[in-house]
């Protein structure tokens, strides 16, 4: 019996552990360590219509129990990934969540349309700036975010996850996205932060500010997944600081059906694999299944 199996938006995942966007690129770098098909899914690096060079260096810096990154959404543009990485991922037998973003709603939709033949799910990264819209990133502007989801839904048959940002209220955005037809949610993206260089008397990162990830943000992730679960009937892909089976189970209790491992892969490239093994051992010992744990913290005593 497979205790880890889970169905998510009509797709059967052999286990709930996926990689987090931007921490696993397109999987090629790790494919010699373990078969990518052994993971729940690979979430690709954020992909846009045109190539993006990204932010000035330094792009990362360490923080207590975490790190800040400002990669600046570097990617080769959808066309390059359609040529090489996406067909290759398919050949590996991996399930694929393609993370898409753009300057405007139509760009998100166009990327989603083109990657759909290779994607099991589309994850819409709403944390990028709304270049042609207001001052807020899509993630904090319910109307702009809803427009993105509507356009993406029109462009693809694949289920669409909206990736929420912890840097503002999430419930009003989630509500607007539900009305726009979103299929599920993924959260959390990174928390905005900054570090200073005492010698230069300037921010360390080339981009000044960056996104905080890693164990430091796990309690924030657990809290937000818990909060969202109480307000939505759509399934949740939870992430933020997951490095062990215990971390994954915390998110499951809060309401996550799938969990992503991100920054932990930098500390240990086997981390996603290790979380799967750990979950299997933990649940086997208790004769429980992953499904038993999803949202279990919300059931009355």
């Amino acid at each position: 019996m497979n205790r880890l199996e889970v169905e998510f938006l009509g797709i059967r995942f052999p286990n709930p552990v996926v990689t987090a966007s931007g921490t696993f690129n397109y999987g090629l770098e790790y494919a010699h360590l373990y078969p990518l098909s052994a993971l729940g899914a690979i979430t690709t690096k954020g992909t846009s219509l045109e190539p993006i060079a990204g932010a000035p260096t330094p792009r990362i810096t360490e923080t207590p129990m975490g790190m800040l990154n400002a990669i600046g959404l570097e990617n080769k543009g959808v066309e390059a990934y359609l040529q090489h990485e996406l067909p290759w991922l398919k050949e590996q037998g991996a399930r694929v969540i393609v993370n898409v973003f753009g300057d405007r709603a139509g760009d998100f939709a166009e990327v989603a349309r083109r990657v759909s033949p290779y994607a099991n799910l589309i994850e819409v990264n709403l944390s990028c700036p709304n270049v042609h819209g207001g001052r807020l990133p899509f993630a904090h502007d319910p109307q702009a975010a809803a427009e993105v989801v509507r356009r993406v839904k029109d462009a693809t048959e694949r289920p669409v996850l909206a990736k929420l940002s912890p840097n503002g209220p999430i419930l009003p955005v989630a509500e607007a996205l539900e009305a726009a037809g979103v299929d599920g949610f993924s959260l959390i993206n990174t928390l905005l932060g900054m570090r200073m260089d005492l010698d230069k008397k300037r921010p360390i990162l080339g981009n000044a500010s960056g996104g905080l990830s890693g164990p430091a943000i796990k309690p924030v992730a657990v809290r937000l997944v818990y909060e969202l679960y109480r307000h939505t009937d759509r399934p949740i892909l939870g992430m933020g600081g997951v490095a062990s089976a215990a971390d994954a189970l915390e998110l499951a209790l809060a309401g996550a059906s799938l969990v992503a491992v991100g920054t932990a892969t930098f500390s240990n490239p086997y981390a996603p694999y290790k979380v799967i093994k750990g979950l299997d051992e933990y649940l086997s010992e208790r004769e429980e299944t992953w499904r038993d744990w999803i949202g279990a913290a919300h059931t009355p005593n």
Binding site: G22, T23, F24, N25, L28, E29, Y30, H32, L33, K45, A53, G54, T57, P58, R59, I60, T61, E62, M65, G66, M67, N69, I71, E74, H84, P87, W88, E91, G214, P215, T263, T265, F266, S267, N268, P269, Y270
Partner: protein, 262 residues
């Protein structure tokens, strides 16, 4: 399937290895740390690096070996921030983990070589020097430092090697006074048909590259960038080259100097 094979290219088969510090001692401002890789069978080439775990730190630290003797890897660590300060205080017997071997390596060019470096940059250069000598090349080393503080370092790294070593101190306390790039200029101006290799602070590599290019000599440098994954997955280590943006951990760290957009 052909497409996958082609796309895989020569992706190096790095892995995550358990390692143990079997020796650690001070070389003035630097620390020589010897790691045992047990019976991993792993082989480093000069210029390649490892990404070493540090207790209490989330991210690993990239370090380029100064040499390999069987399963023992010699490192030179210059304390910089909290992670490297922690590393140099670890006692023999400490167990860590290392992603290795990572990145590309220095090519062994035909003809003689000049190695120009500073600080811990001397580590991969000493490894390279040994390799070049094994290929029968004559090797000149130009090492620069603020003072005589690197005396122990160069003795430890180059003492057993048949290289011509010249030490440069900015304050004149040891060897020639001034910067090693001045000597590189003299050497190339005299018509030496050498390949130049440089590892050290950005300013040194940039200056060495400029001198080499001015005299139309091939030159190779090892670019330093803040790294998280060390294997090409996070895109943090971007460097600009004439053939577009590259990533130092995977496409480098060694680059032809003329390729780099300085």
């Amino acid at each position: 399937m052909p497409r996958s094979l082609e796309f895989h290219g020569s992706a190096a088969a790095w892995d995550d290895y358990p390692v143990e510090i079997i020796d650690s001692h001070s070389l003035g401002p630097h620390q020589r740390i010897v790691l045992s890789f047990a019976d991993s069978g792993l082989r480093f080439k000069p210029g390649q690096f490892l990404n070493l775990s540090v207790p209490g730190h989330l991210l690993r630290r990239p370090l380029a070996p100064a040499g390999q003797h069987g399963s023992e890897i010699e490192l030179i660590v210059t304390p910089f921030g909290p992670g490297t300060h922690k590393l140099v205080r670890l006692k023999p017997g400490s167990r860590l983990r290392a992603l290795a071997p990572l990145g590309n390596s220095f090519p062994v060019a035909p003809g003689d070589a000049v190695l120009i470096g500073a600080g811990a940059g001397a580590a991969p250069l000493a490894f390279l020097a040994a390799r070049l000598l094994a290929y029968g090349r004559n090797v000149t080393v130009l090492h620069g430092a603020p003072s005589n503080e690197d005396a122990e370092l160069v003795r430890a790294l180059y003492g057993g090697l048949e290289v011509q070593l010249e030490y440069f101190s900015e304050d004149g306390s040891l060897g020639r006074t001034g910067l090693p790039t001045a000597a590189l200029h003299e050497l190339l101006a005299s018509g030496a048909e050498v390949t130049v290799y440089s590892v050290g602070p950005y300013a040194l590599m940039k200056a060495a590259a400029a001198v080499a290019l001015a005299w139309r000599r091939p030159a190779f440098v090892s670019l330093d960038a803040h790294m998280a994954c060390g294997v090409g997955a996070c895109l943090s280590c971007a460097v600009m080259t004439k053939s577009g943006q590259k990533h130092a951990c995977k496409d480098g760290p060694v680059f032809a100097a003329e390729e780099v957009r300085w």
